[in-house]
């Protein structure tokens, strides 16, 4: 049995881990700071976001009722699970009653190879970690494959994620190289693009043959029923677009009232999580796609109990992981060291984890809250301004919700060692009796003189805690209270001649107003996308295709002049086809401040056309470029499903190294049609 403290020491002494964690911390902190520069009003936004989340949690029942009704209206099958067991039961029921699937021959043979096991392609979900979903499904002979690169890596290693955003943050590329060599049979290489491409290839098969696609939910929008899922790699889109059944699992608190509030959250979440203005794919799913069944499982699992406890504010969390990156404790430990008394790894690590792990799962994890200096870096980093230090002290005060059989253990000083507790209680007695206090000071001074007669410092042994890395100053022979003699002050105030020159911080430059097309172009190019301004779209797309030797495309109808394509001998199809290298889709709008384009479901399946091919060609009318995400949400409301695409698919799951082209397209080319601008 390893104690929490032993686990801490192991982490500190693990050199690979420390290097990986330093990388994670430094890059994430820098990225976050840079991303927030583009919204100088972030403090106001953060207060607003706090208020929105507070309102949601306060009126959660009403919002959930509205959200569920909307989803049912939208054709989504909604389930509610009060705990892990119920959630898993619902899952199994769905898996065992799968609709007949129109099988293409190649897929049949693949399934036979797998021995007819049900296959689930899974996108990252912390809620699923919390209920240990994979383990439960595997026991029922259902195969679950994690498709987020980081999750895939930790699944291959039979580990749990060590970070809620970057699950493999604890590993270095050499370890991933060894793993892929051993498990996937590729030659040993530490080239991150090669490792990523390998995962892309293996997982592409999974997406195309899976019976069920599984995802979490970042936000549920109460008044439209929309599910918002954000990913960078494209796996979230794959699992919710390709398999015939999509199951989404959502913690019951992940609600925002409306699309405007969603826009507010989306301006904060990616910036806080990965330092991006928007993640590459921001999906808004309203109705199931043609031929698709969608289940939504809304999970309680302790949330109602938490909501009725003094730790309620922890439910405001939007799972960005910023507090983990900012936390000096997490920086030494990584997620795997946050263990309970029973040695199990806490489902949620870091400052928020040290509140919600005991908050949701009880006394077992209370000790985690003692590992904090209450330095407040987490509160500072939180995009919804959760007072984490206050909540940590509440956990320590035994205020986490009591879980039936653990009644007696939860008490003040929870997680504190017995000796510290006794020492502090003695000190309380001293500190409430001034004479005793003064006597104790004299006693301590005498003691420290005896311990170190000729030095200003006392060297205490390591077991005292203090003596582990520092010396203790000697108690003063004459304390302040002994030295203090009241003096009558006669001198005139001279404060008047002193300057008061503290500057109030000036708000940042308003910024040069950029033409929207220009701004859109700059933003997308910065993300590795390509933008072309044109008055003759079809001609220029043909020229681009020829330059790349592409003669077959997946084309959304009414997007290009099809007679010109025929003349140029470019073959096109309106049916999605995963063998085609380039997909051409229309877009509903562009976003100037993030370089995003909006692709919505429709005839010719543009959602797949913008997802499966290696190259996505998007046609955007210049007049459809809007300033920012909030301006575009009206366009999303009435779509079956839509996605904001912000650059090429990417990951930073291995050593925080940015790699382009994971599951979604490696290239995005936007042709901006400015013929109407004159």
């Amino acid at each position: 049995m390893v104690t929490f403290r032993q686990r801490i020491v192991e982490s500190i002494n693990n050199e690979n881990l420390q290097i990986a964690l330093d990388n994670n911390t430094e890059r994430r902190l820098k990225g976050r700071a840079a991303a927030f520069e583009s919204i100088p009003d972030w403090r106001t936004r953060r207060k607003r976001a706090h208020a929105v989340r507070a309102d949601v949690i306060e009126h959660l029942d009403e919002y959930l009722a509205q959200f569920i009704a909307k989803n049912e209206e939208n054709g989504v099958i909604v389930h509610r699970a009060k705990d892990a067991a119920e959630a898993i039961e619902i899952f199994l029921k769905i898996a065992k009653n799968l609709p007949q699937r129109k099988q293409e021959e190649s897929l049949v043979s693949l399934r036979e190879l797998r021995g007819k096991k049900i296959l689930i392609a899974k996108s990252k979900s912390m809620a699923s970690e919390e209920i240990a979903l994979n383990h439960a499904l595997e026991k029922e002979n259902i195969e679950v494959i994690e498709t987020d690169l980081g999750e895939y890596i930790v699944q291959l290693r039979h580990e749990r994620p060590s970070h809620i955003i970057t699950p493999a943050a604890h590993l270095r590329k050499e370890q991933v190289a060894e793993l892929f060599h051993e498990k996937l049979g590729i030659p040993y290489t530490t080239d991150i693009p090669t490792l990523t491409a390998t995962a892309r290839k293996v997982l592409r098969e999974v997406f195309l043959t899976a019976d069920i696609g599984f995802s979490g939910v970042n936000f549920g929008v109460a008044d439209t029923g929309s599910l918002c899922i954000i990913t960078n790699e494209g796996n979230g889109r794959m699992v919710s677009t390709i398999p015939p059944v999509h199951i989404a699992l959502m913690g019951m608190e992940r609600i925002v009232p409306n699309l405007d509030d969603l826009a507010l959250m989306l301006s904060l979440l990616p910036r806080s999580a990965t330092g991006q203005k928007l993640t590459v794919y921001t999906q808004i799913l309203n109705k199931p796609l043609d031929g698709q069944t969608r289940h939504l499982i809304i999970l309680d699992n302790g949330r109602t109990r938490l909501r009725n406890s003094p730790l309620k504010e922890s439910l405001y969390c939007i799972r960005c992981g910023a507090c983990l990156n900012a936390c000096p404790v997490f920086r030494e430990l990584s997620g795997h060291a946050y263990i309970g008394k029973d040695n199990s790894i806490a489902p949620y690590p870091g400052p928020i984890g040290s509140v919600i792990s005991p908050g949701l799962f009880g006394e077992n994890y209370v000790q985690l809250a003692q590992a904090s200096s209450l330095c407040g870096a987490c509160k500072d980093a939180c995009p919804v301004d959760i007072d984490l230090p206050k909540l940590l002290t509440r956990v320590r005060a035994g205020q986490s919700p009591v879980i039936s059989d653990q009644l007696s253990v939860n008490s003040e000083g929870a997680g504190l060692t017995a000796s510290t507790k006794i020492a502090l209680q003695i000190y309380t007695r001293v500190a409430t009796h001034p004479r005793l206090f003064s006597a104790a000071q004299k006693f301590a001074a005498l003691g420290s003189f005896l311990l170190a007669p000729s030095s200003k410092w006392i060297r205490l042994p390591a077991f005292t805690g203090w003596g582990y890395s520092k010396d203790l100053p000697k108690f003063a022979g004459k304390t302040f209270r002994d030295r203090y003699v009241k003096k009558i002050v006669e001198s005139e105030r001279f404060a008047s001649r002193l300057r008061r020159d503290i500057e109030t911080p000036t708000s940042g430059d308003v910024g040069v107003h950029l033409d929207k097309v220009e701004q859109f172009t700059q933003e997308l190019i910065a993300l590795g996308g390509h933008v072309y301004q044109t008055k003759n779209v079809t001609k220029d797309v043909i020229e681009f295709l020829k330059s790349r030797n592409i003669n077959k495309i997946h084309l959304e109808p009414h997007t290009l002049d099809e007679s010109l394509l025929k003349e140029a001998n470019i073959e096109f199809t309106h049916e999605p086809d995963d063998q085609i290298i380039a997909g051409v889709t229309n877009t509903r709008c562009g976003l100037a401040d993030t370089g995003s384009v909006l692709v919505a479901d429709g005839e010719g399946n543009p959602l797949r056309g913008s997802l499966l091919p290696e190259i996505h060609i998007a046609i955007l009318r210049a007049e459809n470029i809007l300033p920012s995400l909030p301006n575009a949400l009206d366009l999303v409301k009435d779509q079956r499903a839509a996605v904001f695409i912000t650059g090429p698919s990417r990951t930073a799951d291995i050593e925080m190294t940015l790699t382009i082209g994971v599951h979604g397209p490696k290239e995005i080319h936007v042709f901006v049609d400015d013929s109407n601008l004159g």
Binding site: R5, I8, P328, V329, E332, Q370, A371, S372, S373, L374, A377, K390, V395, A397, E412, G413, A414, L416, T417, T420, K421, L424, Q425, Y427, T428, A431, Q441, A445, W457, R459, T464, G465, W466, Y468, S469, K470, D471, L472, P473, F475, A476, K478, T479, F480, R481, R483, Y484, K486, K487, V489, S491, E492, R493, F494, L498, R499, R500, D501, I502, E503
Partner: protein, 241 residues
């Protein structure tokens, strides 16, 4: 004549009385009367932070009784204790109709030392002189707990003769954290190491802090590592005329 109540803090009282004396001198030069209530002890933050709320309440009640009938604002040379008075007192007595109003009255009168000088008195130049480099470590509870940062920096800017250099990663915790430094000494040691190596990188022989907790932690680490840098409370720098 303005009078202030000095809450000297248990650490300054017991370990660093010079800091308290420096503070008294500074206020006297400014023509402000400093009162020291002898019944004061500790603010009870260690108990609060450890989760021992009943103990923390007992000490807070004692402290409130000591100060509620004493005239003037309460000034303390510790961002951490100021934070405790200002925020934790309210948390401790939440829902208590007798003690919460009394706690609020105290908390509204409490100021951290540099905050009081700059925000309340409008003083940024105390005529202090210092020869050599200084670098500033913002204590967590001063910086993030009560949002006091520009005040100590402004005061240090106006120390004549001193060269102020920025401490890299200044905002990082030094690893004191009260009971945490005893409960999790291994974690505390790592942060302390990083703080000291950042300090070394500045070449500054003197580190300035606003809290005796950080002071005794960082100075204790420096002494253990046999380093020559000194850690001083800002009151001692500002009293150097």
């Amino acid at each position: 004549m303005t009078t202030i109540q000095l809450f000297v803090t248990c650490l300054v009282d017991s370990f660093f009385p010079e800091t308290g004396e420096a503070l008294v001198n500074i206020f006297q030069r400014l023509g402000i009367d400093v009162d020291f209530a002898r019944e004061q002890t500790c603010c009870g933050q260690p108990q609060f932070n450890a989760g021992l709320r009943k103990d923390a309440r007992a000490i807070a009640e004692h402290t409130i009784k000591v100060f509620e009938n004493a005239a003037g604002d309460i000034v303390t040379p510790s961002g951490s204790c100021a934070h405790h008075f200002r925020h934790n007192f309210l948390e401790l007595f939440e829902g208590d109709s007798v003690w919460l109003p009394r706690a609020k009255a105290i908390s509204a009168r409490t100021y951290e030392f540099t905050e009081y000088l700059v925000d309340k008195l409008g003083v940024t130049d105390l005529g202090a002189k210092w020869d050599g480099m200084l670098t500033y470590h913002p204590s967590c509870h001063t910086l993030r707990g009560i949002n006091v940062d520009k005040q100590p920096r402004a005061l240090l800017q106006n120390v004549h003769g001193a060269t102020l250099v920025e401490l890299p990663h200044a905002e990082e915790c030094c690893g004191f954290g009260g009971v945490m430094s005893v409960e999790h000494p291994e974690l505390s040691a790592e942060w302390l190491k990083r703080k000291i190596s950042n300090l070394e990188s500045t070449q500054s022989p003197t580190l300035v802090v606003t809290d005796a907790g950080c002071l005794m932690h960082i100075a204790g680490g420096l002494n253990r590592q046999k380093k020559n840098q000194r850690v001083l409370h800002i009151a001692e720098i500002l009293n150097h005329v």
